[in-house]
Protein backbone atom coordinates (compact mmCIF):
# COMPACT_ATOMS: atom_id res chain seq x y z
CA UNK A 1 0.00 0.00 0.00
CA UNK A 2 1.23 3.50 -0.92
CA UNK A 3 2.34 5.62 2.01
CA UNK A 4 0.97 9.10 2.57
CA UNK A 5 4.37 10.58 1.73
CA UNK A 6 4.57 8.67 -1.53
CA UNK A 7 0.98 9.69 -2.37
CA UNK A 8 1.83 13.34 -1.75
CA UNK A 9 4.81 13.07 -4.12
CA UNK A 10 2.65 11.53 -6.85
CA UNK A 11 0.06 14.27 -6.51
CA UNK A 12 2.79 16.92 -6.56
CA UNK A 13 4.39 15.53 -9.73
CA UNK A 14 1.06 15.15 -11.49
CA UNK A 15 0.29 18.75 -10.61
CA UNK A 16 3.66 19.98 -11.81
CA UNK A 17 3.29 18.11 -15.08
CA UNK A 18 -0.20 19.51 -15.61
CA UNK A 19 1.04 23.01 -14.84
CA UNK A 20 3.93 22.61 -17.28
CA UNK A 21 1.56 21.41 -19.99
CA UNK A 22 -0.76 24.34 -19.37
CA UNK A 23 2.07 26.85 -19.51
CA UNK A 24 2.95 25.42 -22.92
CA UNK A 25 -0.45 25.31 -24.45
CA UNK A 26 -3.53 25.66 -22.32
CA UNK A 27 -6.24 28.10 -23.33
CA UNK A 28 -6.99 31.15 -21.23
CA UNK A 29 -9.62 30.73 -18.51
CA UNK A 30 -13.12 30.37 -19.90
CA UNK A 31 -12.04 29.27 -23.38
CA UNK A 32 -11.69 25.93 -25.05
CA UNK A 33 -8.63 25.34 -27.13
CA UNK A 34 -9.35 26.67 -30.56
CA UNK A 35 -7.70 28.16 -33.63
CA UNK A 36 -8.88 29.62 -36.88
CA UNK A 37 -8.76 32.49 -39.32
CA UNK A 38 -10.90 35.57 -39.84
CA UNK A 39 -11.24 37.67 -42.97
CA UNK A 40 -9.55 41.06 -42.85
CA UNK A 41 -10.22 42.15 -46.42
CA UNK A 42 -13.48 42.76 -48.20
CA UNK A 43 -15.40 40.60 -50.61
CA UNK A 44 -14.94 41.86 -54.18
CA UNK A 45 -18.07 42.88 -56.07
CA UNK A 46 -19.72 39.91 -57.82
CA UNK A 47 -17.09 37.55 -56.47
CA UNK A 48 -17.08 35.35 -53.41
CA UNK A 49 -14.45 35.66 -50.70
CA UNK A 50 -15.56 34.91 -47.16
CA UNK A 51 -14.83 32.89 -44.04
CA UNK A 52 -17.65 31.20 -42.10
CA UNK A 53 -16.46 30.32 -38.60
CA UNK A 54 -19.65 28.53 -37.59
CA UNK A 55 -21.39 29.37 -34.36
CA UNK A 56 -19.93 31.26 -31.42
CA UNK A 57 -19.15 28.22 -29.30
CA UNK A 58 -16.79 26.93 -31.96
CA UNK A 59 -19.07 24.09 -32.97
CA UNK A 60 -20.40 23.35 -36.40
CA UNK A 61 -18.60 23.20 -39.72
CA UNK A 62 -16.23 25.95 -40.69
CA UNK A 63 -16.14 26.97 -44.30
CA UNK A 64 -14.21 29.19 -46.67
CA UNK A 65 -15.75 30.25 -49.97
CA UNK A 66 -13.71 31.82 -52.76
CA UNK A 67 -14.19 32.52 -56.43
CA UNK A 68 -11.50 31.49 -58.86
CA UNK A 69 -9.28 34.55 -59.17
CA UNK A 70 -10.31 36.06 -55.84
CA UNK A 71 -7.90 36.82 -53.03
CA UNK A 72 -8.83 37.15 -49.37
CA UNK A 73 -6.60 38.41 -46.58
CA UNK A 74 -7.10 36.54 -43.31
CA UNK A 75 -5.72 36.91 -39.80
CA UNK A 76 -4.86 33.82 -37.82
CA UNK A 77 -6.03 33.47 -34.22
CA UNK A 78 -5.94 30.89 -31.46
CA UNK A 79 -6.99 30.32 -27.88
CA UNK A 80 -3.74 29.00 -26.52
CA UNK A 81 -1.71 30.25 -23.61
CA UNK A 82 1.12 31.48 -25.82
CA UNK A 83 -0.55 34.61 -27.10
CA UNK A 84 2.08 35.69 -29.57
CA UNK A 85 2.81 32.46 -31.42
CA UNK A 86 1.60 32.59 -35.02
CA UNK A 87 -0.58 29.97 -36.61
CA UNK A 88 0.46 28.19 -39.77
CA UNK A 89 -1.92 27.42 -42.64
CA UNK A 90 -1.79 24.35 -44.85
CA UNK A 91 -3.90 24.07 -47.99
CA UNK A 92 -5.19 20.59 -48.68
CA UNK A 93 -4.60 21.16 -52.39
CA UNK A 94 -2.25 23.98 -53.29
CA UNK A 95 -3.45 23.84 -56.91
CA UNK A 96 -7.03 24.60 -55.80
CA UNK A 97 -6.43 27.19 -53.09
CA UNK A 98 -3.18 29.05 -52.62
CA UNK A 99 -1.88 30.26 -49.27
CA UNK A 100 0.74 32.96 -49.00
CA UNK A 101 2.01 34.75 -45.96
CA UNK A 102 1.59 38.51 -45.81
CA UNK A 103 4.52 40.68 -44.92
CA UNK A 104 3.26 43.36 -42.58
CA UNK A 105 5.04 46.67 -42.52
CA UNK A 106 3.43 47.38 -39.16
CA UNK A 107 2.83 44.44 -36.85
CA UNK A 108 1.40 44.52 -33.36
CA UNK A 109 1.62 42.57 -30.10
CA UNK A 110 -0.44 39.41 -30.24
CA UNK A 111 -0.51 39.20 -34.03
CA UNK A 112 -0.92 35.54 -34.90
CA UNK A 113 -0.05 35.76 -38.58
CA UNK A 114 -1.65 37.21 -41.71
CA UNK A 115 -2.16 35.34 -44.93
CA UNK A 116 -3.66 35.67 -48.41
CA UNK A 117 -5.93 32.86 -49.61
CA UNK A 118 -6.39 32.68 -53.37
CA UNK A 119 -8.91 30.77 -55.47
CA UNK A 120 -6.89 29.02 -58.16
CA UNK A 121 -9.16 26.28 -59.50
CA UNK A 122 -12.83 25.41 -59.05
CA UNK A 123 -13.36 22.55 -56.63
CA UNK A 124 -13.18 21.60 -52.97
CA UNK A 125 -10.32 21.22 -50.57
CA UNK A 126 -9.46 21.94 -46.96
CA UNK A 127 -7.47 24.46 -44.98
CA UNK A 128 -5.74 23.31 -41.81
CA UNK A 129 -4.93 25.88 -39.16
CA UNK A 130 -2.14 24.73 -36.86
CA UNK A 131 -1.60 26.56 -33.60
CA UNK A 132 0.66 25.84 -30.68
CA UNK A 133 -2.12 23.96 -28.87
CA UNK A 134 -4.63 22.71 -31.42
CA UNK A 135 -5.27 22.18 -35.13
CA UNK A 136 -8.57 22.98 -36.81
CA UNK A 137 -9.80 22.34 -40.33
CA UNK A 138 -11.97 24.36 -42.71
CA UNK A 139 -13.92 23.07 -45.68
CA UNK A 140 -12.96 25.12 -48.72
CA UNK A 141 -15.16 25.63 -51.76
CA UNK A 142 -13.69 27.38 -54.79
CA UNK A 143 -16.44 28.56 -57.10
CA UNK A 144 -15.98 29.00 -60.85
CA UNK A 145 -15.05 32.50 -61.96
CA UNK A 146 -17.91 34.63 -63.20
CA UNK A 147 -17.41 35.61 -66.81
CA UNK A 148 -20.68 37.44 -67.33
CA UNK A 149 -22.24 39.85 -64.94
CA UNK A 150 -25.99 39.88 -64.88
CA UNK A 151 -28.47 41.71 -62.71
CA UNK A 152 -29.10 39.31 -59.81
CA UNK A 153 -32.40 40.93 -58.86
CA UNK A 154 -35.44 38.73 -59.53
CA UNK A 155 -37.47 39.55 -62.60
CA UNK A 156 -41.00 40.74 -62.09
Amino acid sequence: MMSQDMWNKVVLWVGLCAAALCLWGCPPDGYDEDAGVSAISGEPVSMTALVDNGDYDGEGPRNIYLSVGAALAVAGWHYCDDYESPVTLVSGDAATMGVKEIYLLDSYFGDNGRFVLTGLKAGSTTLRVDSVCVSKSYNVVIEPAATTFEDPSPSN
Binding site: S41, M47, G69, A70, E101, Y103, T147
Partner: protein
Protein backbone atom coordinates in the same frame (compact mmCIF):
# COMPACT_ATOMS: atom_id res chain seq x y z
CA UNK B 1 14.03 40.43 -62.89
CA UNK B 2 12.05 43.55 -63.54
CA UNK B 3 11.07 45.73 -60.69
CA UNK B 4 7.51 46.92 -60.81
CA UNK B 5 8.28 50.00 -58.78
CA UNK B 6 9.80 51.85 -61.72
CA UNK B 7 7.35 54.68 -61.91
CA UNK B 8 7.08 56.50 -65.15
CA UNK B 9 7.54 53.76 -67.71
CA UNK B 10 8.68 50.20 -67.29
CA UNK B 11 7.87 48.83 -70.72
CA UNK B 12 8.86 50.10 -74.12
CA UNK B 13 5.28 50.68 -75.19
CA UNK B 14 4.66 52.66 -72.06
CA UNK B 15 7.80 54.74 -72.09
CA UNK B 16 5.71 57.82 -72.78
CA UNK B 17 3.02 56.99 -70.29
CA UNK B 18 1.42 59.37 -67.92
CA UNK B 19 0.44 58.18 -64.48
CA UNK B 20 -3.17 58.12 -63.35
CA UNK B 21 -4.37 58.61 -59.78
CA UNK B 22 -3.35 55.86 -57.34
CA UNK B 23 -5.54 53.09 -55.94
CA UNK B 24 -4.75 51.49 -52.59
CA UNK B 25 -4.27 47.76 -52.27
CA UNK B 26 -6.59 45.74 -50.03
CA UNK B 27 -4.06 45.65 -47.22
CA UNK B 28 -3.26 49.33 -47.55
CA UNK B 29 0.49 48.92 -47.81
CA UNK B 30 0.80 49.71 -51.51
CA UNK B 31 -0.63 52.31 -53.86
CA UNK B 32 -0.88 51.30 -57.51
CA UNK B 33 -0.64 53.82 -60.34
CA UNK B 34 -1.85 52.99 -63.83
CA UNK B 35 0.54 54.00 -66.58
CA UNK B 36 -2.13 55.31 -68.83
CA UNK B 37 -0.54 55.97 -72.18
CA UNK B 38 -2.17 58.20 -74.69
CA UNK B 39 -5.19 56.07 -75.33
CA UNK B 40 -7.15 56.53 -72.19
CA UNK B 41 -8.21 59.90 -70.88
CA UNK B 42 -10.36 57.96 -68.39
CA UNK B 43 -7.22 56.44 -66.95
CA UNK B 44 -5.62 59.81 -66.39
CA UNK B 45 -8.70 61.08 -64.64
CA UNK B 46 -9.98 58.01 -62.80
CA UNK B 47 -6.92 55.86 -62.25
CA UNK B 48 -7.83 52.24 -61.65
CA UNK B 49 -11.50 53.05 -61.06
CA UNK B 50 -12.57 51.47 -64.34
CA UNK B 51 -12.41 47.97 -65.80
CA UNK B 52 -9.57 47.04 -68.13
CA UNK B 53 -10.60 46.46 -71.74
CA UNK B 54 -10.26 42.83 -72.80
CA UNK B 55 -7.35 42.69 -75.22
CA UNK B 56 -5.57 45.68 -73.76
CA UNK B 57 -2.63 46.07 -71.40
CA UNK B 58 -1.77 48.41 -68.59
CA UNK B 59 1.52 49.15 -66.91
CA UNK B 60 1.40 49.50 -63.14
CA UNK B 61 3.63 51.61 -60.96
CA UNK B 62 3.89 51.09 -57.24
CA UNK B 63 4.27 53.37 -54.27
CA UNK B 64 4.94 51.70 -50.94
CA UNK B 65 3.44 53.18 -47.82
CA UNK B 66 6.59 52.49 -45.87
CA UNK B 67 8.24 54.48 -43.17
CA UNK B 68 11.88 53.86 -42.38
CA UNK B 69 12.47 51.78 -45.49
CA UNK B 70 12.82 52.18 -49.16
CA UNK B 71 10.34 50.14 -51.14
CA UNK B 72 11.56 46.57 -51.50
CA UNK B 73 12.01 44.93 -54.90
CA UNK B 74 8.64 43.49 -55.81
CA UNK B 75 6.94 41.58 -58.59
CA UNK B 76 3.36 41.25 -59.74
CA UNK B 77 1.70 37.84 -59.58
CA UNK B 78 -1.60 36.91 -61.24
CA UNK B 79 -4.15 34.80 -59.35
CA UNK B 80 -6.13 33.87 -62.47
CA UNK B 81 -4.01 34.34 -65.62
CA UNK B 82 -6.98 33.36 -67.79
CA UNK B 83 -8.53 36.71 -66.86
CA UNK B 84 -5.58 38.93 -65.91
CA UNK B 85 -2.11 37.89 -66.98
CA UNK B 86 1.06 39.54 -65.79
CA UNK B 87 4.04 40.23 -68.01
CA UNK B 88 6.70 41.81 -65.84
CA UNK B 89 5.24 45.18 -64.83
CA UNK B 90 2.31 45.06 -67.24
CA UNK B 91 -1.08 43.43 -66.70
CA UNK B 92 -3.03 42.13 -69.69
CA UNK B 93 -6.79 41.57 -69.84
CA UNK B 94 -7.28 38.13 -71.39
CA UNK B 95 -11.00 37.59 -70.87
CA UNK B 96 -13.98 39.15 -69.17
CA UNK B 97 -14.18 38.79 -65.42
CA UNK B 98 -12.22 39.84 -62.39
CA UNK B 99 -9.07 38.59 -60.75
CA UNK B 100 -6.63 39.59 -58.09
CA UNK B 101 -3.09 40.69 -58.76
CA UNK B 102 -0.66 40.33 -55.88
CA UNK B 103 2.41 42.42 -55.18
CA UNK B 104 4.99 39.98 -53.88
CA UNK B 105 8.22 40.81 -52.09
CA UNK B 106 11.62 39.23 -52.64
CA UNK B 107 11.02 36.53 -50.01
CA UNK B 108 7.72 35.44 -51.57
CA UNK B 109 5.51 37.09 -48.98
CA UNK B 110 2.61 39.19 -50.19
CA UNK B 111 2.91 42.93 -49.68
CA UNK B 112 -0.58 43.72 -50.97
CA UNK B 113 -3.12 42.79 -53.61
CA UNK B 114 -5.85 44.34 -55.70
CA UNK B 115 -8.82 42.97 -57.63
CA UNK B 116 -8.97 44.20 -61.21
CA UNK B 117 -12.01 43.99 -63.45
CA UNK B 118 -12.01 43.38 -67.15
CA UNK B 119 -14.78 44.04 -69.66
CA UNK B 120 -15.33 43.64 -73.37
CA UNK B 121 -15.36 46.95 -75.23
CA UNK B 122 -18.57 47.56 -77.16
CA UNK B 123 -17.72 50.98 -78.53
CA UNK B 124 -14.71 52.93 -79.70
CA UNK B 125 -14.63 56.70 -79.61
CA UNK B 126 -12.24 58.95 -81.44
CA UNK B 127 -11.02 61.71 -79.17
CA UNK B 128 -9.63 64.93 -80.57
CA UNK B 129 -6.62 66.39 -78.77
CA UNK B 130 -5.11 69.82 -78.83
CA UNK B 131 -1.40 70.41 -79.34
CA UNK B 132 -0.84 69.85 -75.64
CA UNK B 133 -2.51 66.42 -76.11
CA UNK B 134 -5.39 67.45 -73.87
CA UNK B 135 -8.69 65.86 -74.91
CA UNK B 136 -11.03 68.48 -76.28
CA UNK B 137 -13.93 66.37 -77.51
CA UNK B 138 -15.33 63.29 -79.17
CA UNK B 139 -15.21 63.35 -82.97
CA UNK B 140 -18.44 63.03 -84.93
CA UNK B 141 -18.58 60.28 -87.52
CA UNK B 142 -18.15 62.74 -90.39
CA UNK B 143 -16.83 66.22 -90.93
CA UNK B 144 -14.90 68.62 -93.11
CA UNK B 145 -11.34 69.89 -93.12
CA UNK B 146 -9.49 72.50 -95.14
CA UNK B 147 -6.33 71.61 -96.99
CA UNK B 148 -3.53 72.06 -94.48
CA UNK B 149 -5.62 71.21 -91.40
CA UNK B 150 -4.57 68.41 -89.14
CA UNK B 151 -6.19 66.63 -86.22
CA UNK B 152 -4.42 64.90 -83.36
CA UNK B 153 -6.64 62.00 -82.27
CA UNK B 154 -6.64 58.96 -80.02
CA UNK B 155 -9.00 56.04 -79.68
CA UNK B 156 -10.73 55.13 -76.42
CA UNK B 157 -12.68 52.01 -75.54
CA UNK B 158 -16.04 52.03 -73.77
CA UNK B 159 -18.40 49.45 -72.30
CA UNK B 160 -21.77 51.14 -72.32
CA UNK B 161 -21.17 54.52 -70.79
CA UNK B 162 -18.14 53.34 -68.84
CA UNK B 163 -14.70 54.18 -70.21
CA UNK B 164 -12.26 51.29 -70.10
CA UNK B 165 -8.63 51.28 -69.10
CA UNK B 166 -5.75 49.93 -71.11
CA UNK B 167 -3.66 50.58 -74.14
CA UNK B 168 -4.07 48.54 -77.28
CA UNK B 169 -2.83 48.50 -80.87
CA UNK B 170 -4.90 50.30 -83.47
CA UNK B 171 -4.91 49.49 -87.20
CA UNK B 172 -5.96 52.29 -89.55
CA UNK B 173 -7.23 51.95 -93.09
CA UNK B 174 -7.88 54.79 -95.52
CA UNK B 175 -10.40 54.45 -98.36
CA UNK B 176 -10.48 57.28 -100.89
CA UNK B 177 -14.11 57.93 -101.82
CA UNK B 178 -13.62 60.91 -104.07
CA UNK B 179 -10.47 62.61 -105.30
CA UNK B 180 -8.50 63.45 -108.40
CA UNK B 181 -6.48 60.57 -109.80
CA UNK B 182 -3.62 59.68 -107.50
CA UNK B 183 -4.58 62.25 -104.91
CA UNK B 184 -4.39 61.46 -101.22
CA UNK B 185 -6.82 63.80 -99.47
CA UNK B 186 -5.83 62.68 -95.96
CA UNK B 187 -2.57 61.24 -94.70
CA UNK B 188 -2.27 59.44 -91.37
CA UNK B 189 0.86 60.04 -89.34
CA UNK B 190 1.59 58.01 -86.25
CA UNK B 191 2.67 60.43 -83.56
CA UNK B 192 5.90 59.82 -81.72
CA UNK B 193 3.81 59.35 -78.61
CA UNK B 194 2.23 55.88 -78.56
CA UNK B 195 -1.51 56.02 -79.12
CA UNK B 196 -1.72 59.38 -80.87
CA UNK B 197 -2.41 59.64 -84.58
CA UNK B 198 -2.30 62.79 -86.67
CA UNK B 199 -4.77 63.16 -89.55
CA UNK B 200 -3.37 65.61 -92.09
CA UNK B 201 -5.55 67.08 -94.86
CA UNK B 202 -3.39 67.28 -98.00
CA UNK B 203 -5.67 67.61 -101.04
CA UNK B 204 -9.36 68.09 -101.81
CA UNK B 205 -11.50 64.97 -101.79
CA UNK B 206 -13.41 62.59 -99.53
CA UNK B 207 -12.06 59.66 -97.52
CA UNK B 208 -13.35 57.03 -95.15
CA UNK B 209 -10.99 56.28 -92.29
CA UNK B 210 -11.45 53.11 -90.26
CA UNK B 211 -9.71 52.50 -86.96
CA UNK B 212 -9.79 48.85 -85.90
CA UNK B 213 -9.02 47.77 -82.36
CA UNK B 214 -10.27 45.25 -79.80
CA UNK B 215 -12.40 43.60 -82.48
CA UNK B 216 -14.30 46.81 -83.17
CA UNK B 217 -14.26 49.39 -85.96
CA UNK B 218 -14.62 53.15 -85.71
CA UNK B 219 -15.38 54.88 -89.00
CA UNK B 220 -14.76 58.54 -89.76
CA UNK B 221 -15.63 60.14 -93.08
CA UNK B 222 -13.83 63.37 -93.93
CA UNK B 223 -14.28 65.79 -96.78
CA UNK B 224 -11.27 67.96 -97.53
CA UNK B 225 -12.18 71.32 -99.00
CA UNK B 226 -9.80 73.35 -101.17
Amino acid sequence: MWCVACLGGCGEDFADSSLGPPASGQIGQVDLFPECGALSQACLQQGLNSPLAVGSALGLGINFNVTGNSGPPATLEAVNPAVIAVEEAVIEAKSQGAAAVMIVGPDGRVLDFIHIWTAEADELRLIRRNEDTVAIGVLRSEGQLLVGDDLLVSLEAFNGTQPLLGVFPVAWTVEVLEAEDGATPVVLVEDLIFGFTRLVAREPGRVRLTATALGLDKVLELEVLP
